[in-house]
Every structure is written in structure tokens, then in C-alpha cells.
């Protein structure tokens, strides 16, 4: 599982930090490193580009997992360079950005767009497989999530728009329902298709969601 990110265009980043002359850079050693959006080499490249644009980089680091609370210690260890900066530019997913902001009084800006929670699916692709709807129904759908992978999130069956197994609405994607059909067929469970579906309970997705941790 990876939090999938992409780099924002440099022009957008420059716009975000245009009032800051001195910048402290933070990368992330986990997903953003794997995806080459905010690992060590991308941080160094960002440093070079910002210096070319006449910014001063007061320091940089790659936090092992920026979304972890240990980020507080990482920030504490680098107080001097961070204090010298006008802002912090974070090259991690939005969780990392927000974690940094929790523990710093400096303005914090994102250098990446956070796209989705992905897994390696089709060879060479990261695919979105779950939107955390809060009420998992894939037991009814051969462990394939129509909420996420059908363009219309259809729970009651295919729309009839598939062409050659591809989604009519988004031809770059396989039709989720054809996949569900094929897999149920292989499992000898085509009867599942006739089961009724209830409307989704979107109150389970009422934002923001939080879970109280109970001590072990």
C-alpha cells in the first residue's frame, strides 16, 4: 500500500512560497521515496531548482515516515536551520505536511499533490482500490470494489456501457462489473450477481472521521 503522490508543477510551488526567501525542505522516506516524488534525490533537485530561483535553503532532511508522530523529534533536532527559514516546504503526502504543521510554528507548504491510496494492480500501474467508505461491501462483489473502481460506483450491477471490457465512462479502466462477473464465474458464484444491494450509508463517510484509540 502506498499513498500515491505527484509533484506539483514548479510554478505552483514558487507561487505558494513566493513571499519566503529562506526555505527549509523536508522529504519523506516512505511512499514519496518509493514513488520518486519526495525522496532524497527529489529533495536535492528541489533545492537546486529553488536556489536557481534565488531562494536560500536553510537546510533539508528526509524524515523516515513524515506522517508519524516521530516527526516531532526530527523537527526538534533541526531547530536551528528551521528557525532560520521563512517557511517549510514539505515533499510528502498531505498527511506528512499536516504532521509537520502540527509541530512547527512556521508556515508549512505542500510540494506534492496527494492522489489516492494505491496498490500495485495492473502491471506497471498503481491502482486505487478502496476509498475507505467505512462499510466494506466487497464480500458481495468477489472482493472487487465497485464503490471505488466502477466509474459510477454502481452497487446493483453494470451500466451496460462497457466496450471490449473497458469502462464506457473512462476507457483507460477495465469495467469493474465485467471483472466482478468474470471472477464470480471462475468461483462458480454467479448467483451473487442477483443479490439485492442496499443503498450505501454515506453517514459512514461523514467527514472528518476519527477513531478513539483504546489503550491495549
Amino acid at each position: 500500500m502506498l499513498m500515491v503522490t505527484e509533484q506539483k508543477p514548479l510554478a505552483e510551488v514558487s507561487q505558494l512560497i513566493d513571499k519566503c526567501h529562506k526555505v527549509y525542505l523536508i522529504g519523506c522516506g516512505t511512499c514519496a521515496t518509493t514513488l520518486h516524488t519526495g525522496g532524497k534525490s527529489e529533495v536535492i533537485e528541489m533545492k537546486r531548482q529553488l536556489e536557481d530561483a534565488a531562494k536560500e535553503i536553510t537546510g533539508w532532511m528526509v524524515i523516515p515516515t513524515t506522517c508519524d508522530t516521530l516527526t516531532r523529534e526530527a523537527l526538534a533536532e533541526n531547530t536551528a536551520a528551521i528557525e532560520a527559514a521563512d517557511c517549510i516546504l514539505v515533499m510528502s503526502c498531505a498527511l506528512g505536511v499536516q504532521m509537520v504543521a502540527r509541530f512547527s510554528d512556521k508556515p508549512v507548504y505542500p510540494a506534492l499533490n496527494t492522489l489516492f491510496l494505491g496498490m500495485e494492480g495492473n502491471p506497471g500501474f498503481l491502482n486505487e482500490a478502496c476509498i475507505q467508505c467505512g462499510e466494506c461491501v466487497i464480500g458481495q462483489y468477489a472482493a472487487i470494489c465497485p464503490v471505488t473502481t466502477c466509474a459510477k460506483g454502481l452497487l446493483t450491477g453494470a451500466c451496460g456501457g462497457a466496450r471490449g471490457g473497458k469502462c464506457e465512462q473512462q476507457p483507460e479502466h477495465d469495467c469493474a462489473w465485467i471483472l466482478i462477473y468474470e471472477r464470480l464465474k471462475k468461483l462458480g458464484m454467479l448467483d451473487k450477481l442477483k443479490e439485492a444491494a442496499s443503498p450505501k450509508d454515506y453517514s459512514k463517510m461523514k467527514r472528518p472521521r476519527q477513531l478513539e484509540l483504546t489503550p491495549l
Binding site: K152, G157, G160, A162, G164, Q169, Y181, L193, K194, P199
Partner: protein, 291 residues
């Protein structure tokens, strides 16, 4: 005779699609309504067709009704959540609209406001269940209604699936729609009566009147475009050739549609004409088909 009485008494019916335009000018719609009145049983009013923002289907359905043309109010789930859908249904009932065609709708990214937030709180089958519930006097949450509607709900099916999986899925979905209360079915455009007849054999047990969809061809290019881009539509090569060679494309397009309608007439209980810009030619097409 109303759409419901016609279908329930086994009569053969003609419906046609009317698409609201972008803006407040309703002249064209009214002209079409006047032209079609008396020639067809009911007119479907599309709901933000192809996810392009236009005048609403509820208001246009009402305008048609006022002009004496019975409307089929098309309702998609793309732009409204369950609260808005139910409320619009109640409004439709108060305006005297009986027929509702329940659709899921296209995704917003295909239309002219691709940045819009898609809703899809419900889908076609779930919407049919909601309509049935409203007819029974209750909303989706189980609350009792003060005054209940009496809708005649319908649904769509796309018989032209290109793979075994797609076809089976369509048939299962159609069964679900009927079970959820669909009392009539309108289909995607058909161009081959024989394969449609096979489809009809498969679904005859569902005991629901089916109206075969017909889209008159305007050119060979249009046919090729639909073959390439519209799922379930397959215009056979010989028809494309005919359109290509035609001297008068309009006449040929009308003739092809009329011939098709003559063939389809014996296979199902009605024809649904989607004229896509040719609404005013519908009477001509019906004349040519002898309907």
C-alpha cells in the same frame, strides 16, 4: 390514452425523446410539443443529457404536459442526492407528472462541466425502489408521506452488449429493474432487428413491455462515430454504405429508420425514437413507417 393505460392494455406505443436546450428560450420545445402531440403517446424529457448543463427535465416535462403532450420525466442520479431526488419526485407528482424514467446517468467528466462533483448517491435500481416506496406513501427513510404520488416508473436497457459478460450483466440488471418496480423498458438504439429479437427471447419471462430504441441516421459519419464511441450501438456496414451512397441523406436516413421500425414492430411493444436534433422530423419518420 395515457402511456400507462396503453402499455397495460397491450397497445403498441410510440415515444420520442425531447432534449431541453441550454438557456431559458423554450420556443423550440413548444414547437416540437405541438408537432408531436397526437402522433406519439408520450415524450421523454432528457435530464442534463451527456452531462451537459441545460434547462431541467422537470420543468420541461411540465411544459409538455401543459401543451397536451404526456411527458416521461427522465431522472438521473448524477446531480442529486437522495434528498433532492425524492423531493423532485414529489414536486413532479404535484405538477401532474406520472411517468418517470430512472437512470443512473453519465459521469460528469464527459460533459461540459467536467469539474463538477458527481453525486451517484443512488443508482437506477435503487431509484426505482425509492419511487415504489414513495408510491406506497413512504420516503426512503421510512417516514410517512402526507399525500402520496402514483408514478409509472420505467427504466432502460442496453441490449447490444459486445461480450458474454456484458450481455449477462445487462439481463441480470434488467431483471433487477423489473423487480424494483420498472413497469416499462426503453432500450438503447437498435439497428439489427434479428439480434434484438434474440435479446427479446431472453427477457420475455420478465413480462415487462419493451420499447425498442431507434436513432435515425443523419450521415455515414454519424453511424461510424456511434459505432466507435457509443457502447451497445452497432450500425451494420450495409446501412453505413447506404448512407454513404445516398443522394438525399435526410430521406435515406428517414427511410432506414422507418424500415427498421416496421421490423421492430412485431418484436416488441413499442418504439422509442431518439431523434437527436431531428425532433421535428419525427412525424415524417412515423409517416414513412406507416405508424
Amino acid at each position: 390514452m395515457s402511456l400507462q393505460s396503453s402499455l397495460e392494455s397491450g397497445k403498441f406505443v410510440i415515444t420520442a425523446e425531447v432534449a431541453p436546450l441550454k438557456g431559458t428560450d423554450t420556443t423550440e420545445i413548444i414547437e416540437v410539443a405541438e408537432l408531436l402531440q397526437g402522433r406519439i403517446t408520450a415524450a421523454n424529457v432528457t435530464d442534463q443529457q451527456s452531462s451537459v448543463m441545460r434547462l431541467g427535465s422537470l420543468v420541461v416535462s411540465y411544459l409538455l404536459k401543459e401543451k397536451g403532450l404526456e411527458p416521461v420525466f427522465q431522472m438521473t442520479c448524477r446531480d442529486r442526492n437522495r434528498i433532492a431526488l425524492q423531493s423532485d419526485l414529489l414536486s413532479a407528482s404535484v405538477l401532474g407528472i406520472k411517468n418517470v424514467l430512472a437512470l443512473t446517468g453519465d459521469v460528469a467528466s464527459l460533459g461540459d462541466h467536467p469539474q463538477a462533483k458527481p453525486v451517484f448517491d443512488l443508482d437506477s435500481v435503487l431509484l426505482l425502489q425509492v419511487i415504489r416506496r414513495l408510491n406506497e406513501g413512504y420516503d426512503m427513510a421510512g417516514n410517512e408521506l402526507k399525500g402520496k404520488p402514483s408514478f409509472f416508473p420505467g427504466a432502460v436497457v442496453n441490449p447490444g452488449a459486445d461480450t458474454e459478460a456484458a450481455l449477462e450483466l445487462q439481463i441480470i440488471k434488467m431483471e433487477k429493474k423489473v423487480a424494483a418496480g420498472a413497469r416499462f423498458i426503453q432500450t438503447q438504439a437498435i439497428y439489427d432487428a434479428d439480434s434484438f429479437a434474440k435479446f427479446m427471447k431472453r427477457v420475455e419471462g420478465f413480462k415487462v413491455p419493451v420499447l425498442a430504441g431507434v436513432i435515425p441516421l443523419k450521415s455515414a459519419g454519424m453511424a461510424r462515430f456511434m459505432n466507435k464511441n457509443v457502447a451497445g450501438i452497432l450500425v451494420p456496414e450495409h446501412l453505413i454504405k447506404k448512407m454513404n451512397e445516398a443522394e438525399n441523406k435526410t430521406e435515406t436516413g428517414i427511410q432506414i429508420a422507418a424500415d427498421l421500425m416496421k421490423e421492430l414492430k412485431d418484436i416488441c411493444q413499442g418504439i422509442h425514437i431518439m431523434a437527436i436534433g431531428w425532433e421535428k422530423k419525427v412525424p415524417q419518420i412515423l409517416d414513412a413507417a406507416g405508424l
